[in-house]
Symmetry: C2
Subunit: 151 residues, 2 copies
């Protein structure tokens, strides 16, 4: 009983109070939601740079991606969420939980390019947005290559 309490306290310390109440399957669902919503917004920006460009729509999409990228989703990779089902079975690779340096690297790259995308979107320069979309997309791919199980 004592060791269970100790483990629970340790989990609290590691994950922060706010996440102590998030169950593993909820954490997986929340992170899949974040990626799913960003996917919509990446697609919207892509449609805009390939077709009729709507500055306001691109700004909204870029702001959503930026806010999600900066929301601290790392907290959703709780112990015990390396396997399990949220909206669907998680496709995270075990390496995500062991290669801290690698994860930090891809996360920082993603945050940097997401912040830059919001800045570029605000200018309304379609060509610059297209170029930045490529950079941002490559940071998504960088993480997927290393830490997401392929379809």
């Amino acid at each position: 009983m004592k060791s269970k309490l100790l483990l629970a306290l340790l989990a609290l310390t590691l994950t922060g109070f706010a996440n102590a109440q998030v169950k593993p399957e909820e954490a997986i669902k929340f992170r899949q939601s974040g990626y799913g919503f960003m996917a919509w917004n990446m697609g919207r920006i892509k449609s805009n740079v390939e077709g009729a460009y709507n500055k306001d729509e691109v700004i909204k999409a870029a702001n959503a991606i930026q806010a999600i990228a900066n929301s601290g989703m790392g907290a959703l990779y709780l112990p015990g969420t390396d396997k399990g089902t949220g909206w669907e079975k998680t496709r995270v690779k075990p390496e995500f939980f062991t290669n801290k340096e690698g994860v930090t690297k891809v996360a920082l790259a993603f945050g940097k390019e997401a912040n830059e995308m919001a800045k570029v979107a605000a200018t309304g320069d379609a060509a610059a947005v297209k170029a930045q979309l490529g950079k941002l997309g490559s940071t998504c791919k960088g993480c997927h290559d290393d830490f997401k199980i392929k379809d």
Copy 2:
């Protein structure tokens, strides 16, 4: 063939170019993702005002909710998405697609309180955040009451 083309053009006009490529089941998945991600962030703010308060975490959560609230999710309620399955079967009520005035009202209320939440979060005033969380939550509930099928 001509009438099909006409319908396709009408759909384009109604939904905007960028959404022309979003399939109904994708649109449902994307909007469920948006609500799912906001649910995490509402829960985080709640945990913070009820427990140890972390100003930075609340700001991140409020910014995510604000950006999603302002992202133009209405575009995801495409014709043909009144029924169907994204991550799960949609629980939108038929009224959502007919009561335009009612939808506009709840959407504007939600956007207003989400913007206000981001402002209040930036101050770091836990009591004010708690009060604003109540206001914001009531706009979620207002929409759910009218336009979401109960569990």
